[in-house]
């Protein structure tokens, strides 16, 4: 028995560290200076899934869509206790907006037939909070956003407390359910040392290919392909091959993927350049502060 949980996770640039050297002199973002991290609320979603497995048995499968580098967050999820990790990566998925992304993820999730899908409420790079609700709509799963506490899970009934910011709601739904999880829902468990030792060597196929091209740059194409196959087989035997699915594997209709499948288009992007220096400075003395207060009173800002 137990529940099959799928957790959607995303690798994001650490926008919280957008200060100092993360901004270039022209005011644009220096992406290279920003480390890529596990989207914070996705860790809460993972923890919620692991807690369900601890209590009721079952499985936790983590999926991520992105470049092969996104395997970092899948490894991190394996360190923390996930049973299975799947990377969805395909050049034809490039340029996907939230609608196309949720379509591709929903195709992948459908193959896993989970009882419960958990997502972080939102990702810190776009802050849109759209992909979770859209996956639910496409799968026909019941949507429960802003999960703060899982109150009860019995048979096929889930009861949770939602935090709406302006209040709370206790709701009950029949599985299958997709829930988006808040950062206040739990404290994610740290990576387990033993699992870290084991899964730090986990790789997806694209990563193996990159390593082989780097190490055997002189070798012919056939020799490299043979080496890739050999390494993947070795990893798979030790349970260290991160599954890698492309759009054909998930059965996605290309009309709804990538740029073509995305109704939203970027018209313009402006960096916020720090202007600076335009303010009027007052010294921190009684005299200076007094002058400032008088000015604020005179122009009717206060008083």
């Amino acid at each position: 028995m137990g529940y099959r949980c799928v957790v959607c996770v995303k690798q994001v640039p650490d926008t919280k560290r957008l200060t100092g050297q993360a901004m270039k002199d022209d005011g644009t973002v220096n992406r290279a200076a920003l480390p890529a991290v596990f989207n914070p609320e996705d860790l809460n979603a993972l923890e919620a899934a692991l807690a369900i497995r601890d209590r009721h048995a079952g499985t936790v499968t983590v999926i991520s869509m992105g470049l092969p580098k996104a395997s970092d967050v899948l490894r991190e999820a394996l360190f923390r206790g996930a049973d299975r990790a799947i990377l969805i990566t395909d050049r034809r998925a490039a340029g996907s907006d939230t609608l196309a992304t949720s379509y591709i993820l929903s195709c992948a999730i459908r193959r896993l037939e989970p009882d419960i899908v958990l997502c972080g409420r939102q990702a810190i790079d776009g802050d849109t909070a759209q992909v979770g609700p859209q996956i639910a709509e496409k799968l026909g799963y019941t949507l429960v956003t802003y999960l703060e506490e899982l109150l009860d899970l019995r048979g096929s009934t889930l009861r949770v407390r939602r935090n709406l910011g302006s209040g709370f709601e206790v709701v009950e739904a029949e599985l299958p359910v997709l829930a988006t999880v808040l950062d206040t829902a739990n404290t994610p468990r740290p990576p387990a040392a033993k699992r870290l030792m084991k899964f730090k060597k986990a790789r997806c196929r694209s990563e193996v290919e990159q390593a082989v091209s780097r190490e055997l740059s002189e070798a012919g194409e056939d020799a490299r392909a043979t080496e890739v196959a050999r390494r993947c087989l070795m990893l798979a035997e030790r349970g260290l091959l991160i599954e890698q699915w492309n759009l054909d594997d998930v059965g996605a209709d290309l009309t709804w993927c990538g740029f073509k499948g995305s109704p939203t288009n970027v018209h313009r992007v402006q960096s916020i350049v720090l202007a600076g220096g335009a303010y009027r400075e007052y010294p921190p003395t009684d005299e200076g502060v007094g002058r400032l207060v008088r000015e604020l009173i005179e122009d009717h800002t206060i008083g």
Partner: protein, 364 residues
């Protein structure tokens, strides 16, 4: 999705709870009016409720709606994404609006993506501005006129992106609370009421709402004329009292940066910034707030900004009108003294009093 429909209306989702309209649809009607006039099309509000919608419809008319689509059904008594999304999808398919706007509230951010997914149309989240403009896709010569330019901060607020949808409509966006100016209601204006009978045959609402509790925010930052906000630079929860004191003597509300909240100086209700409240008071005093982009996004529209910071290079000064470089533990008491001693300031007969200060008699 629907086809591009140049004569389609501009719609605003009229968020309400228990028969009371939220503020955000009223803010959206102000902006919606402007967009509809530029496009030369009617502005409509979409009101879903269990009953008694007419009073709210009247208010929507006074605030600028030309038309109100009113859908009354018992299943709409309590909001849930699937029931509301179903009705809105039906309305969009029947009337083909060109623009649909929602507040970026807990409800709007739950509802709009569900509607967008079912219509297979685009949705831009958390817009801070909307305009009408033209767009030519890169690598194409085709000019798309009069599109909704959906302007939003992204990447933690360090860039401003403008998004358009030129082929798959309607053009939908959620709009941040507090960034659009509320219109002045006009008691004479009346909206045309269009009733729509929703078809719920064979439909069962998937969520059972067992408890629902509304919590009034302890602090109303949006209504405050003066906000005194503290950041990590305040240092301790103890010295955060200085922020309260200055707010009290100015009759203002207390705000805080995310950092100050994470440090436990003050409750989350006080948060100003991208993930908190967006404010535009007459005066914003930033005490010990370095001014990360996320914070500035929530306060830079304030009429006057006073920054007090020990670090001259803090980014907060880039949006400030007045600056004091110094230790706030020294500066704030001086400010409080200067404000309370207002009588000594030339031209002022009476000392200034805020609602938080004791009456003059009590001070002796």
């Amino acid at each position: 999705m629907i086809e591009v429909n140049r004569i389609g209306e501009v719609w605003v989702f009229a968020e309400q709870e228990k028969g009371a309209l939220s503020e955000v649809p009223l803010e959206l009607l102000g902006k919606g009016r402007e967009l509809a006039e530029t496009l030369g099309v009617p502005l409509a509000a979409v009101l879903l409720t269990a009953g008694d919608g007419e009073e709210m419809a009247t208010r929507l008319g006074q605030d600028g709606a030309d038309k109100v689509y009113l859908v009354e059904h018992d299943l709409l008594r309590q909001y849930q994404a699937s029931t509301y999304a179903r009705v809105i999808r039906e309305l969009v398919q029947a009337h083909a609006p060109q623009v649909v706007l929602y507040g970026a509230t807990a409800m709007g951010r739950d509802l709009a993506p569900t509607v967008a997914s079912s219509l297979k149309c685009g949705l831009t989240a958390d817009c801070t501005d909307l305009q009408i403009g033209d767009h030519t896709p890169p690598g194409s010569k085709e000019l798309h006129r009069n599109l909704l330019l959906q302007i939003r901060p992204a990447f933690g607020g360090s860039i401003i992106a403008t998004i358009v949808n030129y082929d798959r409509w309607p053009q939908m966006a959620t709009v941040r609370e507090g960034v659009m100016v509320m219109p002045q209601p006009d008691g004479q204006r009346r909206a045309t009421l269009v009733r729509h009978a929703a078809s719920f045959s064979g439909f069962r609402a998937p969520l059972r709402i067992l408890e629902s509790e509304r919590r009034e925010k302890k602090v109303n930052l949006k209504a405050a004329r003066v906000i005194v906000a503290g950041g990590a630079g305040v240092g301790t929860r103890e010295s955060f009292r200085l922020v309260w004191e200055l707010a009290n003597c100015l009759g203002g509300a207390v705000g805080a940066s995310r950092a100050a909240i994470d440090l436990g100086f003050v409750d989350k209700d006080h948060q100003v910034g991208q993930t908190g409240t967006t404010v535009r008071p007459a005066l914003y005093v930033a005490c010990g707030i370095s001014g990360a982009v996320q914070h500035r996004a929530g306060m830079e529209e304030s009429a006057k900004i006073l920054a007090i910071n020990i670090d001259r290079s803090a980014p907060i000064f880039s949006v400030a009108h007045y600056g004091i470089v110094g230790d706030l533990r020294v500066v704030i008491p001086r400010l409080v003294r200067a404000i309370r001693g207002g009588a000594r300031i030339e031209g002022l007969a009476e000392p200034l009093e805020g609602p938080g200060t004791p009456p003059r008699e009590a001070r002796g």
